[in-house]
């Protein structure tokens, strides 16, 4: 792939080059190169502890002392974090939470809340919401500011099954309508494979990446997720050039 040519591409929103982050001498993730472009959905997959959230935080600029380079070409960012702990010493209603990082018009707030199916919760205290309701509010908040770049870290966790499908459809719709780039973290392989433009499979480093069809063929991917997962699309054998150590590093054969 001609990455050098792409770096002058005006559509790039964020670009990681050999990015890594370590904490207390232990690498959480290392050597990640990826880019998110306008109108494209890039999905990170990988087992627990493979550095998916860390990669997202590197892309967002939350982690600053990183190895490699990260370039962000937009400041209009919407973020749905995986874990969010809100201190209930704060009296905070959904409506207050929606304007947390940007002042929005009332119609804009209503529109986003309706899209996420939680308009009826507008005046409720944030602490009184269920996990799934709160997740929808988080998503509504992220899309309401009409960002250029959406970073969604397990955006449908705790949402009921039918809601999950609807929310993924919504994410796809937002990507089309706003022409924004989406960096999505998910372990729901079925959804990932159907809506994504580019998949990056992580396990402490980039195992494999490419279009969903390419990735499911990759033996690395199969090793991580098992044979069943590769049947999401099709089955294809491929010779692999490295195996993993327990830490997720590459062990040369």
């Amino acid at each position: 792939m001609s990455r050098d040519k792409m770096s002058v591409n005006q559509n790039i929103l964020v670009k990681l080059k050999d990015a890594g982050f370590k904490i207390n001498g232990k690498w959480l993730v290392q050597g990640v190169s990826l880019q998110v472009e306008k109108g494209k959905i890039v999905t990170l997959i990988g087992p627990n502890g493979s550095g998916k959230s860390t990669t997202a935080k590197i892309a967002l600029g939350i982690y600053k002392k990183i190895e490699g380079a990260v370039e962000k070409f937009t400041n209009k960012v919407g973020y749905v974090p995986q874990k969010i702990s809100i201190d209930w010493t704060l009296p905070l209603r959904v409506n207050d939470f929606m304007v947390l990082t940007e002042n929005l018009r009332s119609e804009t707030i209503d529109e986003a809340l309706s899209l996420a199916g939680v308009i009826h919760l507008k005046d409720k205290n944030l602490g009184d919401l269920s996990g799934g309701e709160f997740q929808r509010v988080l998503l509504a908040r992220a899309i309401s500011k009409k960002p250029d770049l959406l970073v969604l870290d397990e955006p449908v966790q705790g949402v009921d099954f039918t809601g999950e499908i609807a929310l993924y459809k919504l994410i796809k719709k937002i990507s089309d309508e706003l022409n924004c780039g989406i960096l999505l973290i998910s372990h729901d392989l079925h959804t990932v494979m159907s809506a994504t433009d580019h998949v990056v499979c992580l396990n402490g480093h980039v195992c494999c990446s490419g279009s969903p069809t390419d990735v499911v063929k990759n033996v690395e991917y199969k090793a991580l997720f098992g044979d069943q997962a590769s049947q999401v699309l099709s089955r294809y054998e491929h010779k692999h050039d490295h195996v993993h150590t327990d830490e997720g590093k590459i062990k040369k054969n």
């Binding site: 960012v77 973020y79 974090p81 201190d87 704060l90 009296p91 207050d96 990082t101």
Partner: protein, 267 residues
Amino acid sequence: MFDDFFIRALVAGIGVALVTGPLGCFVIWRRLSYFGDTLAHSALLGVTLAFTMQFNIALSVFIISSLIALTLIQLQKRTNLPGDALLGLLAHSSLAVGLVVIGFLTFIRFDIMGLLFGDILAVTVNDLLIIWIGGAIILLILKLIWKPLFASTVNYELAEAEGLNPDRAKAIFTILMAAIIAISIKMVGLLLITGMLIIPAAMARNISTSPQKMVVFSIIGGLLSVILGLFSSLEFNTSSGPSIITAALLLFIISLFKIKQTIKLKN
């Protein structure tokens, strides 16, 4: 009617309450009560230095408190001690050093009680200017950093990810804390300033459903505490600081009953 000094104290107290209201909410939200205490204790050192060097008290307290805040940040980075231990270390050592220095200043007649607990007789027209101009500047800056400060109080990573620069807002807020302590020290006294920050805001939390309401109720609570406290201070000849804080405590207790009522109504 009122003597002149009382009007001055009242105007000063109202100025202080207008600023401690919103700042106090952030002290509660960000769990900074002990941090406020530390800055206030270090203020004694500031006051003694002001006397030794014939310097403006508010300015001197502001400088020393800011220095202590910066020292704390450095110590947090360089030692493995927990935050509360560092706060205790700085609070008590700066208070102790301040008291020792006072011991040496035998040539100055010192009203320690006034310093620790506030003295309405001590408020001059000059102090009024410092409180109102300083207070206006603090509120203006707080308004400017409100968005990033509030967003990072709710969730640091969201604020950082969406480009609000929460670290800068936090640093500025620390300076504002030092500033409010500097301007309110004469009214409330350095042992009770944190009470003025926390108690009206805590009362407001009990009866508020949104952050904006909490700020408004906190200001109203502070104003009522100052007015009630100063009148009783005049009436019973008590120190102004304890009188104001006791009034704030009464309001807090009343707000607890309000909670019980709403819970009953819900059931």
